[in-house]
Amino acid sequence: MSELLDVFIGESRENLESASQELIEIQASGPSSDKVDKIFRDLHTIKGSSDLFDIKPLTRLAHAAEDLLDSVRAKEVDYNDEIGDLLLEALDQISMWFDELENGTQNLAEWQPISTDLGAQLRAFIDPSQAGANTTEQTPAAQANSSTNEIVDSVASALDAFDVNADIALLSKSASSDLYVIEYTPDEGCFFRGEDPVNVALALPGLRAFEINAPAMAADADVYQCVLKITALGEASEDAVVTHMAYYEGQYTLHKLTQQALKYRCKDKILDSVAQLNDEALNDALKTARETGDTNTLQSTAGLLVASQTHAMPIKAVLSFLSSDIDLTFLDDHKQVGGPDDSADAPASGADEHSKEGLLPHEKELLTQQLALMSSEGYSAEFMFPSISILVGNVLKQTFSNEAELISAINAALEDVQNDIPEIQDVVETTNATNESETQTAEEEASQPAKAERQAVKMLKVDQSKIDYLMDIVGELTVAKNSLPYLAKQAEEEGGSKRLSKQIKAHFSIVNRLTESLQSAVLQIRMVPVSHVFQRYPRLVRDLSRKLDKKIELCMQGEDTEFDKNLIESLSEPLIHLLRNSIDHGIESPEDRIEAGKPETGRIDLIATPLDDSVIIEIRDDGKGIDPHKIKLLAFQKGVITESQLESIDDNEALQLIFAAGFSTSEQVSDLSGRGVGMDAVKTMVSQAGGTIEMQSEVGVGSTFKLLLPQTMSVNRVMMFEVNDQMFGVSMDAVVETVKVPTQDIQRIRNENVLVIRDKLIPLCNLRDALGFEPDGGKEEHSILVVSTPQGEFGLIIDKFHEGIDVIQKPLEGVLAGYSHFSGTALLGDGRVLLIINVQEVLSTCL
């Protein structure tokens, strides 16, 4: 994926997110111009940047959405929920396409119909009469018509509106079958969107002719309002035109027609024109061509007539059409009465005989070039005509014997052209004069609406990997810093210099302070407000509640609570699971709620509260709650608990059973949640992020899920201790206290070592056994590390306590990855590796 695409997707995703957020807000609290404006700008940005890449369907869809919003903004269209839903759908579609782009699995052919369909739906709101018309007038019925060589009325009227003879002129200029007429009326405000309609029209593929309708402007007119109407004729496939006009959807109507249909339409005109010309050679050639299919003669005759005489526009067009390589079968469809057929009975003249030989291809080419030269804008009769006439004369001499007749015709044509010029100048002068009288008294006042400019945000976008790298370096620095105390110790013990040791220690405190501030600064960079994740949820809640026909209100608190970015990302999934659960299983249907005496609309609270170095996230619903007895029974049925546990387990413990693997409380599995993997997965994800989850519930009142998560996952404070001369660590969060007790204080109850501290019974676990070391018998005093776990407090019997230390915990990799006893490793200042114990796992093997 290119870097540019990367940036585009990243930025556009932000735009998408903010747009859908605003949309949700609009749906909740009604439209406000600010919000519509913001969504409009977001979509505008996406549309604009997407054009850098070859993803036209996406651009078109974004454009359609943007246009709809523009109409809403201009109060031309009233906002309603249907529009909102459709816009959200469009945003979702775009987001899905971004996914495909990121994975490189995009298939534009698949995108196309989706884009067309959604785009048409969006545009139907702007102009209901155009519903389904989209960009082309061609409906299936119309397509059927065109195959029978008829032109749809709308196309015919568009052609006629351009010029009465537009059909024949277009026919004479087109070579391929796909022709089009496009009526492009740019929006008044299109200049402000950076559009340049005339140049767009000029660049239309296969452009053959165009008209720019420009009304006279009053002197106080706004020059930045586009008042032009452009009609263009050309030959190109529908696709090519639609692609070219992708940006201007909704501003143009495209009429498609085939050359064949045009030929049939022009048939009468062609025959009439030939009759008007009353040229025997041509008539005869036309007749021969129609009878024998030999069009060579006809082409050369018509070509010569074009070159030799000045005709009215339609006749000229007919002749140039006839001179091209054509198929005349269409002329025979009906036998024309009168005209060429009758008059062509006359015997061929001498000239005709010559013309039958036909012009050689290079001669024809030469004549065509001269013709082009004469009608070019740079044509100047005085300078160019002599050379042209000589050339044409030479060519004609080769073919014709009666040159005198031809030269006189050419001279007549020259006269005609020169007579025409003063006439045109007169017209121009009169037009100017009228404009002058209109405009002289007027004053100049053209106000330029200020362009809405987005406020520049003083933000710096940095690749996350750079921050991660910085974090790693800080981690290394922390480790390096930790080696200073060792150095001090060494200096004292081996070097015997207490002074040096003291100096090193003093220095350590400075380095320590700086490292800590550096570390917290880097951590700050990685901190993002939890709203980053939260803002996706209103949409989720809204969608799901509609799907389930429930009424649910989501209230969020503490969105500005900050979290480590990595943590937040790992948090998103479990929260979605929990929310889904609350929506699906928690909140009752409106009828049930009314019956239960609750308000019809259910409420889900999503609350983030900072607590020291952790954050508590609560998801609270006021639904039907969870019945612990039901859970107990289900857990027993599914074999999650034994019969004895069924008896002994208390309500709170029963509730926590929903986090057990393979447990689903819903009798009916729905597509939202309730596959029995959800809660288990949630718990795993939360504990992977170093957090804990618990739930409380009261039947009929609601349930609360409480997640306790560390604010950062990068630096851990661990307590070091020694077992069998080896260093281990345990997370400082788990440590409750450290005690040293004489051996006789340890009691045995039912084969378990226990210790009573301050009237509290604490089960003990000997780490030497648990970690597989030789037992160390005959100690008089034991060091015990009391740790807290969700199951209560436990004591770990160890050999020796060490200090607490900040470490960057690394996950176990390679051969160590299988050891569940350890949660990670860290590097100590003196180069040793510290294994960090996973207390829960160790206890489960030990007890």
Binding site: F191, V198, F210, E211, P215, L228, N432, A446
Partner: protein, 85 residues
Amino acid sequence: MPVTYKKKVAVLTGHCEIEEAETLFSWLTEDASRQLNLKTLTTAHTAVFQVLLCLRPKVSVQPESSELYWIVEMLQSDNNKVWCE
């Protein structure tokens, strides 16, 4: 500067951006006898073309650029139709 305003004639050079449209429009409407020299004009924004097509000022020198054949034709004829050759 794409547009140089002289006493009677404004000379349009190269590509005329949209920003020129406003000044050009007011300059042309101030005095209807003012003319345009399009000799070295190559392209222009629609807004500029719009001023030319709506006000139809006298053109003292036609553009040399073949790209602009159509504006010449349009300003010379009474309709704004052009067939591409």
